[in-house]
Amino acid sequence: MTLAIILVIAAAFGLIFILGVTVSRGLQVSGENRRRIQPIDVEAFRNLVDPAEDEYLRRRLTSVDFRRVQRERLRATATYIEIAGRNAAVLALIGQAALSAGDATTVEAARQLVDNALLLRRNAAFALLKIYVALAWPNSGQTASSVLQGYERLSGCAMLLGRLQNPAVPVRIAATM
């Protein structure tokens, strides 16, 4: 009887999840989903994942203080990685929509954007997992540098697609360089 109840509850949750996915897909197709790109302070992010910073803090602080500070830094890093992962998901959608463009260069740029966005999303998930493990053992090294590199690569792809789809803005960027 207990087994039956467990399986029935599992089936009910499964059904709710499947219907939820169907509804959210419907909203996505009809353009009702309002998720947006969230800005990230890349310099602060870079600072957080810099091994030299870790080393500096390790030398300057007592081991108890270092673990406390390191946990704080890991939590902050996790927040950055979550945002980077969410941004990657939004950009993956933008890239997929641009895949239907007529221009071959735009399609190629969109494909690269999708690939890099998915790669970043995957790496963000692994990095978050490692960070949650590292929270228990803060003396272990930082693990999020691949996410930062992926984020920078993704920025390049987004900029390229932006340049192809909306030439005015990248010119402004180029001018500021």
């Binding site: 996915v21 800005p39 959608l93």
Partner: protein
Amino acid sequence: MLQAHSLLWDYLWVGPNALLLVLAWLLWQRRIWRQNSAFLAFAIVSAVGDIAVFLADISPSVSAVNFWRVDWAYLFAESILKFIVIGEVFSQLNRPYPSVSKLGRVVVSGVGAFLVLLATLVAAFSRGDSSVRLISGAHLLEQIVFTVELGLILVIFLFGAYFNLSWDRRSFGLLLGFGISSCGHLAGWAISANAAPSPHGRVLLDFLDMATHHVCVLIWFYYLLIPKSGGATRPPKPPSAGAGSDESHKEHLEVWNRELERLIHQ
């Protein structure tokens, strides 16, 4: 009305299978079966098999043991084809994305193996609903199949949702139908195999199973035959697409570019 072999009972047993055969014929006629060839095979085998089980049930010349043998054969063939269809759908979802396709394969195979072990373990602890092994075995096999099926479908939906992968309309419809079917059937078979329902309760569970199957066949009709309004199988519009998707892309990319601009200034 809610009695075994009432008109409704017979309709719910035969009707969805007849519709499934019509669907298979339409897929063949419209030449849209190539993309979902495994589903075409499933539709034919499943419908013919279930009708064969129905005929074995009403035919006085078929003994009880032979009825259950027919049921086993049908269950076995249907289950194998079902998993092939799920594999085909997953590969269609995964193939266009090389950066995550390997991860997807690893996740789905790993979870599949785990689910088979888990479902077998759960079946080993099930009490069974009949002293005749042929009957209780069939019910436990159904329970194992639907547990694994539901688990795999949930993992595929989760994988697609996490990475925001764009679904082909037909593949999504197929998986949605199998998902709803596995939820309904798992609940029904779990009660049947573990909770020793009364004979009338068992009949009601059969009605639930058959009605679920009917709903799923209608879902497949809708997703496989009715084209999406406004075009074929395009990727979904990006989020926050308001007045026009192009404007929305530009808006997003402008936000991104502003971020890059700020980075350059630092």
